[in-house]
Amino acid sequence: MKPILRLTICILFVWTNLANCQSKMVPIKGGTYIPLYGRDSLMVTITDFQMDVYPVTNQDYLEFVKKYPKWKRSQVKKIFADANYLSTWTSDIELGNQQEMLAPITNISWFAANDYCECQGKRLPTVDEWEYAAMANKDLPDARQLETYNAYILGWYEKPRTFNNEIGSTFKNYWNVYDLHGLVWEWTSDFNSVMISGESRKDVDNDSNLFCGSAAIGATDLMNYAAFMRYATRGSLKAKYAMKNLGFRCVKNINQ
């Protein structure tokens, strides 16, 4: 009996060690909800998926560029990342002085984020998936109506330099996911799909006008304002942009 017990302990030990290599994920149970913007039909149905508990960190990303040199700052192709790509790093494989290893990676383009997730056998979340997971607070899967939930997000918008805080320093939400609000904004796979309803990408401009004038045209509650900010930002991004407050995390389909 004793040897078997030992063996089991060993195997468990090995297993946990291996599991640590991949960042932790938790299941998000699907459902139907109405996003602020989105498809023309109002309801959006999300199927079950797994989401990274934390945003990808500087440390994670550093490992990634070491393994895939094409994503080093000096080697990245201009078509995949603009001049801000990893611009705060001291060198190709060194963070800047002020940067924490466990702070979320920022200053990366959509192409970089997308490739990172693919290399882990994962993918970026869709806008709808991200918004679905992010409408939870500590206790509720959909807390968007609560004043505290929205006040928290708006309070964060006012805080400077939150991108250099460590992961896990904000609250754990209903799905056991951390940091969806409070540290950085996050890339989504189809960030460029929202806010188009008609014929041309010029629509985006129309919609950002809408955003600018939102107070006047009846954004009746804070809920709209907090989310307006996210949607408007996404609408203004291009895939090669790298911004200092824009990071990402990955998701995975459940049956893979």
């Binding site: 090995v14 291996l18 201009k78």
Partner: protein, 239 residues
Amino acid sequence: MKQLITIVCSLLVIFSFSSCKDDTSDITGDEAAVYQCPMKCEGDKTYEKEGSCPVCNMDILVISNQKKQISNNHEISDESIFNLTTNWNTEEGKVIQLEDLKGETLVMVMIYTTCKAACPRLVADMRNIEAQIPKANLEDLNFVLVSIDPETDTPKRLKAFAKENFMDGEQWTFLQGTVSGVREFANVLAVKYKQISPLDFSHSNIISVFNSKGELMHQQEGLGVNNKETVKTILELTN
């Protein structure tokens, strides 16, 4: 028995520690030096080994330590769409990468075949542009229609669409990609799209012109807009 288990255990533990470390073998790359005659007797011709110029007999000199040289015709610049490496199916059932389209001026648009509203007009715009290009220029020109609905638009379907729309000539290419490949491609073109229902997408209407190295030269936005600039760009590139 006990000993064996202890050994197995310790091995496993060691293995578990090492498993996190991925082979971080630094790619130094074989950075072969490139040599060229200082007098450029043979134009931009380069050599991989030391020696002397066959024309003027001067020693050839190192011009770059890097294998990659932008002046070299085989190279792809940083801003070229040929940096995208996903696979595409053509309407003829061939599997290609964008780089296989190198050497010709490319006029690209994103459409889907079940589209009822905007795409027929976009396709008409493409045909309209093509009609304004002299025959001689068409040889160096490729009109590429990329499907934003890779699940529905199979090569067979694209071929049928090409025939229906009289776009079955050599200068027309239709591409089916993967969902992620198409998203990536759209991001390069700054084309926005979203699936609204299984057979319907909203999307921006952009026709893009690339030079033979895959660098974006011109974009025209909107439907039925004046395509004078686009045609002018194409003519400049193909002359």
